[in-house]
């Protein structure tokens, strides 16, 4: 018989500490849907997605009941849509966006990710048309996510794309004004984007992936927080060990769910992304883990060190628990989606500059940050350039998901609702970076990219 304390521990993690499978994401390649006529492409895309993912939601729900573990989202990631636009010359990418929305509704998934373009070294056919269509596409859809990769350690940073994204984010905010600025909340600009990421808004199905596969994203900030709370006087190395053990258990559950889903759906298992992904719910916060380590408020001096240890321990614990770890894997630090981060930002202790420093050691980047609506596009581009530089030089994924709240000023609150949460409009630097951004061109790849 199983050990009763183990049984109780698992049940406590799920019932009281918000442990869940954040997402089962089916990656689907759409390369075989390419064609010259956009209407025909849309038909093929709709057919392929709805056939492949026909049972995704039902299987997810069945696993939820069997194992008694909540699976919060069922999602789909697709081949970067810009590649479909490349073949269908002159076709309107918004048609494709509408098709993807329809496919999301038919399959019942929460999100489809992959309205994306990879332009880290330059624009190829279809890329610019897709990027310019993002604001319109996001304002007409509710379940579609877009992403653009503007840099990589190997290629450098495409500063023309960085410049363009400042305008695109502002336009996305403008067009989704009536929808509480949900446009930019579903759009992320990345550097070193992983090709097997199950988390939104940056999920897409890379060209090196198989035709169809299943990824799992696990979460559990509450479990880690409650584990470290039991050791108020432990040294940092002891704490790292406790976090590793907890991450191991969480990831094992992700591995189990992933293998089961892959067997039931008859598609290969991709990766487990062992991310601490917070939600606005009480007890599900990454900021509270950092505060549990001994910080009075997240964002004060010492936060970067605490986060660096957390991020590393999560990875180390998870790696042994899964046959294949991938995606973003680590600790996310979104502001509006994390109760502790929201409080820290409202109190003024957590600033944009500190968040930027934290992104050098967390698993992604500046995430779900509300900025003043009158922020110039060049300043948004400059924020993106800074983040991409951190990612490029440190061989890691970084990202920017900022929401310019038009009509709101510093200190006002913006409420998205649901998993997106709510956040204060955070202060930004008012000095201009316009001349730097206007230069365009490319920041060359760093020295250590020449490894061969």
């Amino acid at each position: 018989m199983l050990n009763t304390s183990d049984i109780l521990e698992t049940i406590r993690m799920i019932q009281d500490e918000c442990l869940d499978i954040r997402t089962i994401t089916m990656g689907i390649s759409l390369l075989d849907c390419c064609g010259e006529d956009m209407n025909r492409v849309c038909e093929k895309v709709y057919d392929k997605i709805t056939t492949r993912a026909e049972k995704l939601v039902a299987v997810g729900e069945q696993i939820e009941t069997e194992y008694g573990i909540p699976i919060i989202n069922k999602r789909i990631s697709i081949t970067p849509a810009a590649m479909l636009c490349a073949a269908a010359k002159g076709g309107d990418p918004v048609l494709l966006a509408r098709t993807l929305q329809r496919a999301a509704e038919t399959t019942g998934v929460n999100f489809i990710g992959g309205f994306s373009a990879l332009v880290h070294k330059g624009f190829s056919a279809g890329d610019e048309a897709l990027i310019r269509a993002i604001p319109q596409a996001l304002s007409e859809t509710t379940n579609l996510c877009a992403s653009v990769n503007v840099g990589s350690t190997k290629a450098g940073i495409n500063m023309d794309a960085v410049k363009l994204m400042g305008d695109v984010i502002l336009e996305a905010a403008e067009l989704s004004r009536e929808q509480n600025f949900m446009g930019p909340a579903k759009l992320v600009v990345l550097c070193n984007a992983p090709e097997d990421n199950p988390f939104m808004a940056g999920a897409f199905h890379g060209v090196g992936e198989p035709d169809c596969e299943i990824h799992v994203g696990v979460s559990g900030p509450g479990v880690v927080r409650s584990a470290i709370e039991k050791y108020p006087d432990a040294t940092m190395d002891k704490l790292a060990d406790i976090i590793k053990r907890t991450a191991f258990k969480i990831t094992r559950m992700g591995q189990l769910v992933g293998t089961r889903a892959s067997a039931m759906l008859g598609v290969p298992f991709g990766i487990v992304d062992l991310s601490l992904a917070p939600t606005p719910a009480v007890g599900d916060s990454v900021a509270h883990i950092l505060e549990g380590m001994g910080l009075s408020v997240c964002g004060m001096h010492g936060t970067t060190a605490a986060l660096a240890m957390l991020n590393d321990a999560v990875k180390k614990g998870g790696v042994m628990a899964s046959s294949s770890v991938g995606g973003l894997s680590g600790a996310f630090i979104p502001v509006s989606e994390d109760a502790g981060m929201i409080d820290a930002a409202v109190s003024g202790v957590l600033t944009l500059e500190k968040l930027e420093a934290m992104t050098a050691v967390c698993s992604v980047g500046l995430d779900m940050i509300v900025i003043p609506g009158d922020t110039p596009s060049s300043t948004i581009s400059a924020i993106i350039a800074d983040e991409a530089a951190i990612g490029m030089v440190n061989n890691k994924t970084t990202a920017v998901r900022v929401i310019p709240a038009i009509g709101k000023k510093e200190g006002d609150m913006l409420d998205f609702g649901g998993l997106f949460g709510s956040g204060p409009v955070m202060p930004i630097r008012r000095e201009s970076a316009e001349k730097l951004i206007a230069r365009g061109g490319r920041i060359p790849a760093p020295m250590h990219s020449v490894k061969n």
């Binding site: 018989m1 199983l2 009763t4 183990d6 049940i11 069997e66 008694g68 189990l256």
Partner: protein
């Protein structure tokens, strides 16, 4: 294929009878039971064989949850794999 049923809450008359009754209804064979009562708190863990269920596992699970609500107990039925994978290497 086995499932673990956990029952936790205030002790009352007939808990074991009612839970095992539902198992019998669904043709789930009870293979192991451990139970303890500490003061008023009742805790029971049951391992049941679910290979020959005459209904879906979700139905068994729903019936047990309904009983939990009725008796004000916390009752969960979960596949044993989740405990094995989490706690055993």
């Amino acid at each position: 294929m086995k499932a673990v049923i956990t029952v936790i809450g205030h002790d009352t008359v007939g808990i074991l009878h009612k839970v095992s009754g539902i198992c019998a209804e669904c043709n789930a064979n009870v293979t192991e039971v451990t139970q303890s009562v500490l003061q008023d708190l009742f805790a029971m863990f049951m391992l049941v064989d679910i290979r020959n269920l005459n209904c879906d596992f979700s139905e068994l699970s729903a019936k047990l949850s309904a009983l939990g609500k009725e008796l004000d107990l916390s009752i969960h039925a979960m596949h044993e794999d989740i405990f094995n994978s989490m706690h055993r290497i």
